[in-house]
């Protein structure tokens, strides 16, 4: 302590060092998304013979707080594709508006051409890559499900860095660890996926949503599921998890203070 009143009641610089001003804002709010705020968790999807099944729960979390419990994270596009969003919800809503305007432009265009799932995925991945190159990323990982120009099942991923890839089954976030192994045993390659029926695929996806609800603390038992084929989209937005069994829970040992 010294005689200067402005030094009273605060940590001494000579003891604790100067205040790290980088924690303060320079001027005005941050313009760029530097971290996701309100987030959606996993999206899971699986190809089958005629199309693709995709699902995501209806929860938007604020950190560990289950903030919004009725957020639809699957979005249809022009009756040809479904986009499943993981990551930041406000960026999802921005992309939703962007895709609505894209859909309108294409529908009223003079080419008579409509965008398929493949085209939509290319568009989204270029938006992501451009934004990451401007250091202003859209903080999402999305799965695009639908049919391509040859009416074959199409499933691909795009993320905040512009990274893209395609596979018979895909899962974002926690789903990449918990759901993907289940889906890969069922469809290890494209041929195996092409041998799956719609019922098998839907059942597998529902099983994955259940496993995710058991183990992902940022998940919810209310979810959306969509089946996309060349004949159109069947989207259900208020599904409840069925046949849950928590009997396994009491057998779990070895976490926290409970050693054995």
């Amino acid at each position: 302590m010294n005689h200067l009143p402005q030094g009273w009641g605060r940590p001494r610089d000579d003891v604790y060092g100067a205040y790290d001003a980088s924690y303060l804002q320079n001027s005005g709010p941050n313009q760029h998304t530097q971290q996701p705020v309100v987030t959606g968790t996993s999206v899971v999807a699986l190809k089958f013979k005629e199309g693709v099944v995709i699902a995501a729960d209806n929860l938007a979390s604020y950190g560990s707080l289950a903030r919004f419990t009725d957020v639809k994270r699957l979005r249809t596009f022009a009756d040809a594709a479904v986009v499943g969003f993981g990551g930041d919800v406000s960026d999802m809503q921005y992309l939703d508006r962007l895709l609505t305007s894209l859909d309108t432009e294409e529908a009223y265009g003079t080419t008579g051409h409509t965008l398929n799932a493949h085209n939509l995925h290319t568009y989204l991945s270029k938006v992501f890559y451009k934004r990451r190159s401007e250091f202003n990323p859209l903080w999402n990982q999305v799965l695009v499900a639908g049919v391509d120009q040859e009416k074959k099942p199409f499933l691909a991923s795009a993320d905040l860095l512009g990274t893209t890839f395609s596979a018979p089954s895909l899962a974002t976030g926690f789903g990449a660890h918990l759901a993907q192994p289940i889906l890969r045993t069922l469809a290890p390659d494209e041929e195996a996926a092409a041998g799956l029926s719609k019922e098998q695929a839907v059942e597998a996806i529902k099983e994955c949503m259940k496993v995710l609800f058991y183990r992902d603390a940022r998940s919810m038992d209310k979810y959306s599921i969509a089946v996309v084929t060349k004949d159109g989209i069947d989207l259900r937005e208020n599904e409840k998890l069925e046949a849950q069994s928590w009997a396994f829970a009491e057998k779990i040992r070895g976490y926290g203070t409970q050693v054995n």
């Binding site: 200067l4 610089d13 001003a21 860095l161 512009g162 596979a167």
Partner: protein, 264 residues
């Protein structure tokens, strides 16, 4: 006057109001959250022969310990007239950050296509190699985070391989391995393609030892070398596996071959 009361060397004066805080970041920057790169693993390999070039890459894409997909090619035909690239004569492989690799491939392909339309002839591999260097250097201060390898046949019909660093330094070589398992494959190539550390038995002792004479390898032997190199890399590197995509440039065009690798 303010400096007289300096409590805080950073602020250079007595100031405890937020609108007088320093506007520049303090020394020892706060770690920022967004990093625009990632590593998608995988490995590539290119060997030039007498009248052919082989460029190969595995088809696994990873992020951390996760496998994104088991089939994402890293080797591409460049500059054909159609999207099928049937009449292309140049091969490009990119490994590192896949999104940058894709962007780089698409830019080079567009440029080589434009050259073909404007000049009425396909671009030479030598010209394409110089152009690729210029593209990479154009992003010197925000680089494409990739190890690119370009190949084809030169003006004399000989196999040509050009390898690059992320900012465009390049060199024509006999062979080059790139990506995650480059450090595993390259020494093998030095020994088996350029016959490094191979001497003629009984040709002398010490410095009198004669090096084994270098000769270009035939295509079948090179193909076997590529397979062996990748089988070995798959054993020892977790980011390499699933499938091997090979492209062979000869005077008859580019032939494509896919061989499964271990998926573990």
């Amino acid at each position: 006057m303010a400096a007289m009361f300096s409590q805080n060397p950073l602020m250079n004066g007595p100031n405890y109001s937020f609108n007088q805080t320093p506007t520049a970041a303090a020394a020892g920057n706060k770690e920022h959250a967004f990093y625009p790169y990632t590593d998608n693993g995988g490995s590539t390999l290119a060997i030039a022969g007498e009248d052919f070039t082989i460029i190969a890459g595995d088809t696994r894409s990873t992020s951390g310990y996760n496998i994104n997909t088991r089939y994402q090619p890293k080797v591409f035909k460049i500059g054909g007239t159609t999207s099928s690239q049937d009449d292309a004569n140049i091969i490009l492989s990119v490994v590192g950050f896949a999104a940058d690799g894709e962007a780089l491939k698409e830019r080079l392909d567009a440029i080589v296509k434009m050259y073909r339309y404007q000049h009425g002839k396909p671009m030479s591999v030598k010209a394409c190699a110089q152009r690729l260097s210029t593209i990479l250097y154009g992003k010197r201060f925000f680089p494409y985070y990739v190890h690119a390898i370009l190949g084809g046949l030169d003006e004399e019909g000989k196999g040509a391989v050009y390898s690059y660093d992320p900012v465009g330094s390049y060199e024509r070589e006999q062979c080059r391995a790139g990506g995650a398992a480059a450090s595993l494959i390259m020494p093998f190539l030095d020994n088996q393609v350029n016959f490094k550390n191979q001497y003629m038995p009984g040709s002398g002792v010490g410095h009198d030892l004669q090096e084994r004479e270098r000769k270009p390898l035939p295509l079948v032997e090179v193909e076997a070398l590529v397979k062996d190199a990748f089988d070995s890399a798959v054993e020892r590197h977790i980011e390499v596996g699933d499938g091997l995509l090979m492209m062979m440039a000869t005077k008859n065009g580019i032939e494509e071959k896919y061989i499964p690798l271990k998926r573990d």
